[in-house]
C-alpha cells in the first residue's frame, strides 16, 4: 500500500526540487548586465595556461569597468590557442611563443591583413632548490647547464664551490627536476641554457625535455612539490609559485642577480624585435647573455595575438579595449599583483600601445 503512494510522491518531490533549483538562477555576485558603460559584447580567447591567473585578474577589472563585456579564456595551451586563432575559433590567442613563419602566414590570411602580436605577460623563472643548510646559492649559467645536463652530480662539486666560496655545501646527490609536460617555461629555460651556458648544456632549445635522466614533474605545481618533497633537488619554475623554496642567484656579467620581477622586466628592454615582421608584430628574442647590471635573463615572455582588422566593429572595439587595458600600466600592475608577473617597462609599453592602437574595424 505504502509503496503505491511513494511511487507518486517520489517523482513529484524530485520534480519540485528540480524546479526550485532551476528557478534560483543567477549567482550571488552576478548582477544583471543591462546598464552598460564602455564597450560591450563577448570576447573569446584561448591559449597558454601560464597567463591564466593574470587573465583572471584582467577580466575582473575589465568586466567591472565595462559591465556589458564578458571575456572568456580557455587555458588549452599555447599550441591549441594558436591553432584555434588561425582557424578562426577565437578572437585572440595567448601563446608562450610567437607565431612561426607558417603560422604567421596562415594567421594573416585568416585576418585578411596584419596581425597584432604583443607581449602581455613576462614572468621571471626562478631556479629553485631544496638543500638543507644552504639558504643562499649563487650559480653561473655554465654550472646550471651542467647540473641539468647531468654532468655535475654532487652538491659539493668544484664548479658549485667556485660560485659559492662561503657556503657549506654537503656531499649530497643532485636530483634535477624538470617539466614532464611540454611548456613555454621549459623552452625559455633551455633557451637561456643554450645561449648562456657556454657548452654546459647540450640539449638545445626545446619545449619537451630532451634528456632521459632526472626527475620529471607535471606543471609548475608538480615541479615545486617534487623539489619540496625531495632532498638535494633543484628545478625551474615561475618565481611567483616558488613559495619558501630557495631561489638561486644567477650570474650576469660579474654579479649574481637575485630573481625579481623588476630585474626580469629590464630584460625585455634589451630584447631584440624579430626582424622581417610587421610593425604591429612585436615578437622579441630575449638576449640571455646580457651583461648589463641588474638584468635577470631567465624570463618567460607570453604574448597575446589578435587581428589588426575585424569585420565586426564591436569585436574590434572590444579587442582594442581589452589589449589596451592589458598592456597598459593598470593592467600590468593588476597582473603583477595577482600572478607575480613583471610589469612591462614604460618604454616598452609605449611601443606596445602604438601597435594595439592600430586595431580597427574594416
Amino acid at each position: 500500500m505504502n509503496r503505491n503512494i511513494l511511487r507518486k510522491v517520489v517523482p513529484a518531490t524530485a520534480a519540485l526540487t528540480l524546479a526550485i533549483g532551476l528557478s534560483a538562477c543567477a549567482a550571488g555576485n552576478e548582477g544583471d548586465s543591462s546598464g552598460s558603460d564602455g564597450v560591450s559584447g563577448t570576447l573569446n580567447g584561448a591559449g597558454a595556461s601560464s597567463q591564466e591567473s593574470a587573465v583572471a585578474a584582467w577580466k575582473k577589472t575589465f568586466q567591472t569597468d565595462n559591465s556589458g563585456a564578458t571575456v572568456n579564456y580557455d587555458p588549452v595551451g599555447s599550441g591549441g590557442g594558436r591553432e584555434q586563432f588561425i582557424a578562426g575559433g577565437v578572437q585572440f590567442a595567448g601563446s608562450d611563443a610567437y607565431l612561426d613563419e607558417d603560422e604567421l602566414a596562415a594567421a594573416k590570411k585568416k585576418c585578411g591583413g596584419e596581425i597584432v602580436e604583443v607581449p602581455t605577460y613576462v614572468s621571471p623563472i626562478a631556479v629553485v632548490y631544496n638543500l638543507e643548510g644552504v639558504d643562499d646559492l649563487n650559480l653561473s649559467a655554465k654550472t646550471i647547464g651542467g647540473i641539468f645536463q647531468g654532468t655535475i652530480k654532487k652538491w659539493n662539486d668544484s664548479a658549485i664551490k667556485a660560485d659559492n666560496p662561503d657556503a657549506d655545501l654537503p656531499d649530497t646527490d643532485i636530483t634535477p627536476v624538470h617539466r614532464s609536460d611540454d611548456s613555454g617555461t621549459t623552452k625559455n629555460f633551455t633557451d637561456y641554457l643554450d645561449q648562456a651556458s657556454d657548452g654546459g648544456w647540450k640539449g638545445g632549445v626545446v619545449e619537451t625535455w630532451p634528456t632521459k635522466g632526472g626527475e620529471a614533474a607535471e606543471g609548475t605545481s608538480g615541479v615545486i612539490s617534487a623539489v619540496k618533497n625531495g632532498k638535494g633537488t633543484i628545478g625551474y619554475a615561475d618565481e611567483s609559485q616558488a613559495g619558501d623554496l630557495g631561489k638561486a642567484n644567477v650570474k650576469v656579467g660579474d654579479e649574481f642577480v637575485e630573481v625579481t620581477p623588476e630585474a626580469a622586466a629590464k630584460t625585455l628592454d634589451e630584447a631584440k624585435t624579430v626582424e622581417g615582421r610587421g610593425d604591429t608584430d612585436i615578437a622579441v628574442d630575449v638576449n640571455r647573455t646580457s651583461t648589463t647590471a641588474g638584468v635577470y635573463p631567465i624570463v618567460l615572455v607570453s604574448y597575446q595575438i589578435a587581428c589588426q582588422t575585424y569585420e565586426d566593429e564591436k569585436v574590434a572595439e572590444l579587442t582594442k579595449a581589452w589589449l589596451s587595458y592589458v598592456t597598459g600600466t593598470q593592467g600590468q600592475e593588476d597582473a603583477a599583483k595577482a600572478a607575480g608577473s613583471a610589469p612591462l617597462t614604460d618604454d616598452f609599453a609605449a611601443k606596445v600601445k602604438t601597435a594595439v592602437d592600430t586595431i580597427k574595424a574594416g
Binding site: 584561448a46 583572471a56 585578474a57 577580466k59
Partner: protein, 365 residues
C-alpha cells in the same frame, strides 16, 4: 525464505547444534574475530601513539600484525583438518584484501574532507568566480555546469545503453551482431577521455564551425565514455534475471516487450540503477574532454546549447594548475570543488538506492 536459512549458514568455526559431537575438533568460535580485533587495536594504538609524538615503526608493526593473522589457519590445519584450514586461509585473505583496499581509499576521502570542509560556506555555494581574484568567490557556476552537462549525458546514455543491453541479452542473444556489439562496447571502454573530447569537438565543428563551445558537446563527449559502462553493467544484470521468470511471463501470454518492460527490467532494477550511478560517477569527474569542448568560464550559464560552461573538475584542475598569487585561496577552492563533487555523487547514490528500493519487486534476495 531467507529467514529460515540464515541460522544454518556456517559461521567461522561454528557448527550447528547437530554437530556438537564434532565441536571438540573446532577452534573456539570467537578466536579469528579476537585475533582480528586485537590486530586492529594494536595498529590503531600505534597510529595514535605516533600522532602523539612517539616514533614507532608503523610499517613493521602492521606487517607483523598481518602475519599473525595467518596463525589461525595454521592452527586450524592441525586441529580441524585441511578443508577448514583452507577456508580460514581464504577468509584471512578476503579480509586482508578488504583492509588493504580500504586504507588508501580511506586516506583519499580523509584528504578531500580535511582540505575541502573548511572551504564550504554560503558564499562558496552561491557565488560564481566572475570578477573574483584571490580570496572569496564560489563554485555555483561550476555546480550548475556539472549538473546540466552530466544530466544531459545521462539522458543520452541511459536509454541508448539500456536498450543496447536489452538487445544484446533479450533480442540478439547468440547472434553474430550481438556478439560484435558486446565486443565493440568493450573496445569502447578503452577510448581515452581526451580522444572522446577531440571527437566531440570535431563532430560539433562540422555543424557549428570553428571555435564551438557548448555544454551539450561536453555531454556528447561524456556519453561516449559513459555508454559502454551502462551497457556492460546493464547487460550483466539482465543476464542474471532467472529464465524461469521470463518463461512464466510468456506462459501467461504476455508479449515479449511487456515481459521485458514489466518483468525483466524491474527484476534487475537494483543492479541497473547501481550500474547507471557508477557510470555517472565515472564521467562526472572527467576534465580533459570538457576543457576542450565545453571550455572554461567564470560566469553562470544555464544554456546547454550556447557558450562555455564551467564544470567542477575543470574548475578544480585549472585552480590547481594556475593558482595565482598567493596560491592558497585557489587551492582551497579546488579542494572544495572536489569535495562538492563527492557530495553530489553521494546524494546521487542515495537517490539511486531509494529508487531501487521503492521500485524493484520484493522477491527472493
Amino acid at each position: 525464505m531467507t529467514a529460515t536459512l540464515e541460522p544454518t549458514a556456517p559461521r567461522p568455526g561454528g557448527g550447528g547444534d547437530l554437530h556438537t559431537k564434532l565441536s571438540s575438533n573446532q577452534l573456539p568460535r570467537l578466536l579469528p574475530w579476537g585475533v582480528f580485533v586485537a590486530a586492529l587495536a594494536i595498529v590503531l594504538a600505534t597510529v595514535i601513539a605516533n600522532a602523539l609524538g612517539s616514533d614507532l615503526p608503523t610499517t613493521r608493526i602492521v606487517l607483523l600484525v598481518w602475519a599473525v593473522q595467518f596463525l589461525v589457519p595454521l592452527l586450524s590445519a592441525f586441529v580441524e583438518g585441511r578443508r577448514k584450514a583452507v577456508d580460514r586461509l581464504v577468509t584471512t585473505f578476503v579480509v586482508s584484501a578488504f583492509t588493504l583496499a580500504l586504507l588508501p581509499l580511506g586516506s583519499i576521502i580523509y584528504t578531500v574532507l580535511d582540505n575541502g570542509l573548511p572551504v564550504l560556506s554560503g558564499e562558496f555555494f552561491t557565488y560564481s568566480m566572475r570578477n573574483v581574484v584571490g580570496e572569496g568567490g564560489g563554485i555555483y557556476h561550476a555546480i550548475v555546469g556539472t549538473l546540466l552537462i552530466t544530466g544531459a549525458a545521462a539522458v543520452i546514455s541511459v536509454p541508448i545503453g539500456l536498450f543496447t543491453a536489452i538487445y544484446v541479452v533479450e533480442y540478439g542473444e547468440g547472434t553474430r551482431m550481438a556478439r560484435w556489439i558486446r565486443f565493440l562496447v568493450d573496445v569502447m571502454t578503452g577510448i581515452p577521455s581526451i580522444v572522446a573530447g577531440l571527437f566531440a569537438y570535431a563532430l560539433f565543428v562540422l555543424f557549428f564551425g570553428e571555435g564551438v563551445r557548448m555544454g551539450i558537446g561536453g555531454s556528447v563527449a561524456l556519453s561516449v565514455l559513459m555508454i559502454p559502462v551502462v551497457v556492460r553493467s546493464c547487460e550483466e544484470m539482465l543476464k542474471l534475471v532467472p529464465n524461469e521468470l521470463r518463461e512464466a511471463s510468456y506462459a501467461l501470454g504476455v508479449p515479449k516487450w511487456r515481459t521485458i518492460a514489466k518483468v525483466v527490467v524491474p527484476t534487475a532494477l537494483a543492479g541497473i540503477v547501481t550500474g547507471i550511478t557508477l557510470a555517472i560517477a565515472r564521467v562526472i569527474g572527467e576534465t580533459a574532454p570538457l576543457l576542450i569542448i565545453a571550455g572554461a568560464t567564470d560566469s553562470v550559464n544555464f544554456n546547454l546549447f550556447g557558450d562555455r560552461m564551467a564544470t567542477l573538475p575543470v574548475f578544480a584542475y585549472t585552480s590547481i594548475r594556475n593558482p595565482g598569487v598567493p596560491p592558497e585561496f585557489s587551492l582551497d577552492r579546488a579542494w572544495g570543488a572536489a569535495l562538492v563533487l563527492l557530495i553530489i555523487v553521494m546524494l546521487l547514490n542515495l537517490v539511486a538506492r531509494l529508487v531501487s528500493f521503492l521500485f524493484s519487486p520484493k522477491g527472493e534476495k
